[in-house]
Amino acid sequence: MLSRLSIPVRLLLLLAVPLAALMIVGLTGLTSINATNATTQELQARLAQQVQLEAMRNTLGTSVLAAANGVAMASVSASDAMQALNKSRSDFEEAGAAFIAGAPDYRRDRTDAAIRPILEDFAGLMSEFENGLLDDDTAVIRGAITGEWGAEAQRILSELSKVLESERGAADRLVTSARERGGAFFSLNAVLGFAGLGLALLFGFYIGRSITTPVRELTATVQAVAAGDIEARSRLSGYDEIATLGGALDHLLDEKVATLAAAERANTRLNDSVIALLRAVSQLSRRDLTVRVPVTEDVTGPVADAINQLATETARVLADVSRVADQVASTSMQVKSKAESVNAVATSQHSEALDTADKLNHAAERLNDIAKLAQHCNELAQRAAQNTESAVVTVTGTLRGMTDIREVIQETGKRIKRLGERSQEISGIVDIINRIAERTTVLALNASMQAAAAGDAGRGFGVVADEVQRLSENTRNAAGQIASLIKGMQIETNDTMGTMENAIGQVVEGSRLAEVAGKQIGDTQGATTALVQSVRQIAASSQEQAELSVTLRDRARTMLSGVRTTGEQVAEQLQQTVNLSNFARHLLESVRIFKLPA
């Protein structure tokens, strides 16, 4: 029957039975607890009443009687005793009221009936006490205490004790009944609990068995199949999930067996194809690209076809590679030669870069010098501006001076002209003297020659003639000197005149030029100011140029390092080209080991 139920239902049953048992036990326990609670409340109420009764007894037995005895013994005054009695009375009545109020509703009437007479009696006793105290007769009081009052008090105490005993008995009975009731509930709970537990265990056993048995069968079936028994089946029947699982497992195993059989057959065929394929690949591994793999219809067919295509393409590619390797080898040799040329060019560029860097460095230093020079020129320009201003003043003074000079020169020219006229007169006189001296010389010569021709007689005359000739020659020489001096003077005078005129002209020109110079100096001053500005800008620009040249120098150094790096890289490239050439040659050799189709 359980097999007809689904596993969730069975599990639900497995949980529901113990839960039901637990619920029953719980309800029973709850009932017992409620009863115990009610009993406890009752018991608590009765205890409270007992406390009230005790309080009443103590009030009567201790406070009232103590006050009365005090009065009797005259240890307590009547007023104090009255006060004590009043307080005791109120306490007693409050206790009594509390006793009555503390009784449950169902027995309040009985409680009231039980305690009311006691309260009345106490009230009467208190009245008598009060009356007695009011009389203030000690003997009477003493006598009443030992007589009727005492007896009444004892009787009231006895009543109270009875009520207390009654209450205690009722409480005892309540405890006993509660104890008995609790034991009954306990037994009932125990029975119900064990019954529920047994039922739950029973249900659990059967439900668990209904689940674990088919599961064990499924496990055994799977283990058998794993061990190799492909015929193992679970053959579970039922309508639950496990039965469905078992049926599915059996079906799966059936399909699996069929599939394995088909796979086995396919593997066999595939194995044969693979062997053929391996043979062909073996031949290919021996670098024989002329081999062709037979193409079958199985899964190796595409592989064989692919291998054939691979071999064909590989052969074609290797042929291309061989051709390309040849070209690469030749091209690499060309590249190598070109790389060597580039390396040489890079080396020369490096040296040129070095030279350029040096020249840039030198140029930077020169620019620096130029900057300093520009700065110096700036200072000089400023000084020139100052000098220009003073030059303006100087030119103005020069102009005035040149005017004065012109006048002086003109006056001098006139005097020189007069001097020239005088020298001209002197020259004429010198010519006359020269002529006279010349004639005298001729005469002296003739006289000398005549005296020499006269022999001894003319000797004296010859001497005189020689002396006269000498004198005339000296005169001629002097006249000549004078003439030359005069001529020189005339020449110099003429030159001086010319010079004076030139000087006048130059003075005039100079004046004009001084005026122009003054104007130009004014312009120059402006230009100098502008020049100072320009020089200042040049100085600044030179400084910038110097800084720029320093930057260029640094960049040149960077370029140099770059050129150096380029040279190194070119050298490396050259080496790599050589390696490439070697690799191409090796590649060619490697390709040639393959047997290619014609």
Partner: protein, 170 residues
């Protein structure tokens, strides 16, 4: 002593015999400039300096014979020595003619500078090779005086030879 006697007396040098001997070795000349040649004639040769002489040409005379000069009634032949000596005449402001000799030997020739008195001794004698061929035979000696070259010139012999070479002209 009268002044004339004093003037006629020979001067006596202080250095005495040495000076006398030196004076004996010295020869006095008159230096003449003809072209660029310096010619020396005897100091005691009679002569006269003529300024701007008027020369009367002779027809048919050789080129070097310029003509005749009337010197106070004396007719002197005027010979231009520049032509036969191959010399260049200096263009002077005045043309000086020098008449040498007396009597029939006298002749005049143009000079390019006034005559000067020169003294030469053996120490001034030099050997000169660059001398015009026409005058070489008539220059027995040559001297270097004052840094200038002077040739001793026998003018009479030269004129005679010149006239002899040119035909009757004496």
């Amino acid at each position: 002593m009268k002044a004339v006697d004093a003037l006629a007396r020979r001067f006596e040098r202080v250095d005495g015999d040495a000076a006398r001997e030196r004076r004996k070795a010295e020869r006095r000349f008159r230096g003449l400039r003809v072209g660029n040649l310096g010619l020396l004639v005897a100091h005691d040769c009679s002569g006269e300096l003529i300024e701007d002489a008027q020369v009367h040409p002779l027809p048919g005379a050789p080129p070097w014979c310029r003509g005749l000069i009337n010197l106070r009634g004396r007719l002197l032949p005027a010979f231009d020595l520049h032509e036969p000596l191959g010399l260049t005449r200096f263009r002077a402001q005045r043309q000086w003619w020098l008449a040498l000799g007396t009597g029939d030997d006298a002749f005049a020739f143009p000079i390019d500078a006034l005559p000067v008195s020169l003294v030469a001794d053996e120490s001034a004698a030099v050997e000169v090779t660059v001398v015009p061929q026409s005058v070489r035979p008539h220059t027995p000696a040559s001297y270097r005086i004052g840094g200038e070259l002077w040739l001793e010139f026998r003018h009479r012999d030269f004129i005679r030879a010149l006239c002899a070479s040119s035909g009757p002209c004496s």
